[in-house]
Amino acid sequence: MTDRAAEGLDLPPDATQEVPYRGGCFAAKPLGLVAPVVFLGLIALWELGSQTGVIGSLVLPAPSAAFAAFLQLIETGNLWKHLGASLQRLIVGWTAGTLLGIAVGLAIGLFSLARAGLLPLVSAIFPIPKIALLPLFIIWFGIGEGSKIATILFGTFFPTVIATYGGVDAVDRTLIRMGQSFGLSWRSIVLKIVVPGALPAILSGFRISASIAIVLLVAAEMIGAEFGVGAYILLAGSFMATDQLIAGVALLSVMGLTMAWLIGKAERYFLRWRL
């Protein structure tokens, strides 16, 4: 009751009062500077903690030490060996998995026979962590590049299939009916209506498959690789060289961010009609 009194409800009946504003609050505001400030602030705190000895150098190396390890990686030329090997596996595996995934996803979305035959299979294999199959892949494709690429390929294939056929299912039926009403050929309806209509879903599937690909890349490289960011991290870990380990992990983060940025670019280009 005291609240009501404070809000002026005991004012005389003819009092004039502005209607109180009750909107707002839940809309997100763009605050461009906050992200770099938080990021740099955390690093600065971390560095400070390491310099003063609050954080032990074995527990967590200073950011400067990790950066020095990274510079050393550049100087020795090993950066390009590791990064080159990793990127090659990532690009080949992800591209092949994605292309196959789109093809199978379209088939499932378009043909009842493919849906009936393949969808249960996809649903059964999708939840298996592909890294569990790596030993099998090593037997099938050899200890070299084949097994690593196959792991990434399988890992990206299934989420792409699911994103693609989901996208095809979600294409506005009235648009397809429109295509039929103008006598468009089956091929035209697929290429001009179904595929562009499924593209937003396919592209958001890319975001998921790209991060899965990086996880599998590191896992595969940790099991048997001479070069690669995963192998570098594993080696650093076994020598307790945590500064190198942090440098390697930061490299993975940059790889992930770069892929997300590229996919964002692709989305802005292919989906510019959506804006």
Binding site: T174, L175, R177, M178, G179, Q180, S181, F182, G183, L184, S185, S188, K192, I193, P196, L271, W273, R274, L275
Partner: protein
Amino acid sequence: MDLQLSNLSHSYGDLEVLQGIDLTVRSGEIVCIIGPSGCGKSTLLRFVGGLERPTGGQVLQLGTPPAHSLNPLTYIFQDFALLPWRTVEGNISLALEDHRLGSAETAVIIDDVLRRTKLTEFRRAFPRQLSGGMKQRVAIARALSVSPAVLLMDEPLSALDSQTRELLMEDLIDLWARERFGACYVTHNLAEAVRLGHRIVVLSRRPGRIHEIVEIDMPLEQRASRLAELESHQTRLWELMRDEARAADLELTDD
């Protein structure tokens, strides 16, 4: 080319939605189909253009369509059905691409229909940039580009506000005056029906049967200025429909 519906009926399982529809759409004539909601008028229109198959009866084309007609039976949809990833001219060319006319002829047709629907300056706009009325104009332009013999319009103005509806109605009458296309125009709006229909078919509630056919013998071009005379037709149509509409409104629907 005339269209003849003979003894058309349709049911979904046990549910009968249309029953014994006999109707002829003569060339150059606009036939409006009205009826209470759920009476199957949109379904009927899908049968007319061959987008769905009725369980009984048939739709016949009497005579051959004009040689220049690329798609004799062409739809205009309530929700416009424009591809959001194509511009205005891209949406129109979609209807032409499969006919392999050559780029020069395609360009001529697109220019022509854009001019006729007053869309020339919006040719590179995407659908999201256009108002509802403009989007429907694009759909009309796309339909005109294939020179239809009969236009099949499924509540084309129902998604628009009343001012836009009035403007587009005038545009449609102008276009009809020049092209003299035949049309089957499904609507629930009696004012549209009396403004655009040479004949108005009143369907009963489910199962939809032809309740009555009202003929309005007044040139379309004069109707905007003789609304008072149309009023009596509209009242009569409403009297025909009122009880059906009330009964339809009280029905439970499962779809």
